[in-house]
């Protein structure tokens, strides 16, 4: 497989090392000359010096040969977004993956249709949330391609939803309460299901509407 990797920091260099070990055809683009020198010591000609958001640099790295895969792994989210758009839309690379450095920028990647992203900060926070049930909402599953995620909400006494029927709770557009787990038993939620303290509610929603759903079902904080 022919892969073009943009960004030769720790993440990029480690990914390239592994891809080369798997005998893939890889070029790595790095724009900092001192860092590029290091990369040449290890990867030889596979390390290209230049700004991966410049089209002639991408072409020099063989993106138009064509590449099967482009990985945008720089420390700059705007650069990563542009690299992905260029790879996908200008060079028809079938698979592009982006690193998201600042989780607040995730929405921009989603908006511009860069579906395959990896955000270390968000992943770590997700794991922390799993460990802290008091937080109220746990992310169970993310279906990026479908732009959906499934979360679990722990309802307590202060929840504004307590005593309400599901049909009477205003949830964000594009979201739905799926099921209610009570006394160890789960039942599908319909409009007449009444929410009680201690319930664990499963909901499907569009990423980005978590806060709205939280406000509807959990106590205001």
């Amino acid at each position: 497989m022919k892969a073009v990797v943009a960004g030769g920091g720790k993440v990029g260099a480690n990914v390239v090392r592994s891809l080369l070990a798997m005998h893939h055809d890889v070029t790595l683009i790095e724009q900092r000359p001192y860092r590029h020198e290091r990369l040449v010591e290890e990867f030889g000609d596979a390390a290209v010096l230049g700004d991966a958001t410049e089209m002639h640099v991408l072409e020099a790295a063989g993106i138009a040969r064509p590449a099967d895969l482009a990985l945008a792994l720089t420390g700059d989210d705007e650069d990563n977004l542009v690299i992905c758009q260029l790879a996908r839309d200008a060079y028809r690379v079938p698979k592009v993956v982006a690193r998201v450095n600042d989780p607040r920028n995730q929405e921009h990647f989603d908006l511009l249709g860069i579906g395959q992203t990896v955000c270390a900060a968000a992943n770590i926070l997700g794991l922390v949330e799993h460990e802290v049930p008091d937080y109220g909402m746990v992310h169970l599953l993310e279906l990026r391609k479908e732009n959906l995620e499934i979360v679990e909400l722990q309802i307590d006494r202060d929840s504004p939803a307590c005593g309400k029927r599901v049909g009477g709770i205003r949830v964000p557009d594009g979201s739905r309460l799926i099921s209610v787990m009570r006394n160890g038993r789960s039942e599908l939620a319909d409009d007449s299901t009444v929410i009680r303290p201690g319930d664990q509610v499963l909901a499907v929603l569009e990423p980005g509407t978590e806060d709205e759903l939280r406000r509807a079902l959990l106590r205001s904080r």
Partner: protein, 138 residues
């Protein structure tokens, strides 16, 4: 009419002042609060300190109700992303974005952005002047 200018450097500030003088309601956005100084002592428009990649800053600047948005920070990629966010998330049709790299300016124009490339303008204009003068001298 409402204009939001993102990036209040030499270019952005001059565009902001120009439109304010024309009677537009102008909001300038810049990461650095010192950029306000570029708008002059008599600036009556709004000024928001923050990064244009931050949707909350864009909203505070009124991007969602702007008639037009000019994106002219000093980073091509930052400009390209902000311009697309303004266009797609906030539904602004009249978005004009500065891109210094001619190749990227041309490519994003094919994706439906109004790109302005000062580098390309300089290249064309330098060539035109040389040719014109050469004709005169011939």
């Amino acid at each position: 009419m409402k204009l939001v200018v993102i990036g209040c450097g030499r270019v952005g500030s001059a565009v902001a002042r120009d439109f304010a003088a024309d009677g537009w309601e102008v909001t300038a956005v810049d990461q650095k609060k010192e950029a306000l100084g570029r708008l002059g002592d008599a600036w009556e428009g709004r000024f928001v300190v923050g990064h244009g990649m931050d949707s909350q800053i864009l909203r505070r600047a009124g991007a969602h109700e702007a008639d037009a948005v000019v994106v002219a920070t000093n980073g091509d990629n930052t400009n390209l992303v902000i311009a697309q966010v303004v266009q797609k998330r906030f539904g602004v049709e009249n978005v004009v974005v500065r891109v210094l790299d001619p190749a990227r300016a041309q490519f994003y124009a094919t994706l439906g952005l109004q790109t302005v490339c000062p580098t390309q303008t300089a290249i064309s204009e330098l060539g035109n002047r040389v040719r014109r003068t050469a004709q005169v001298l011939a």
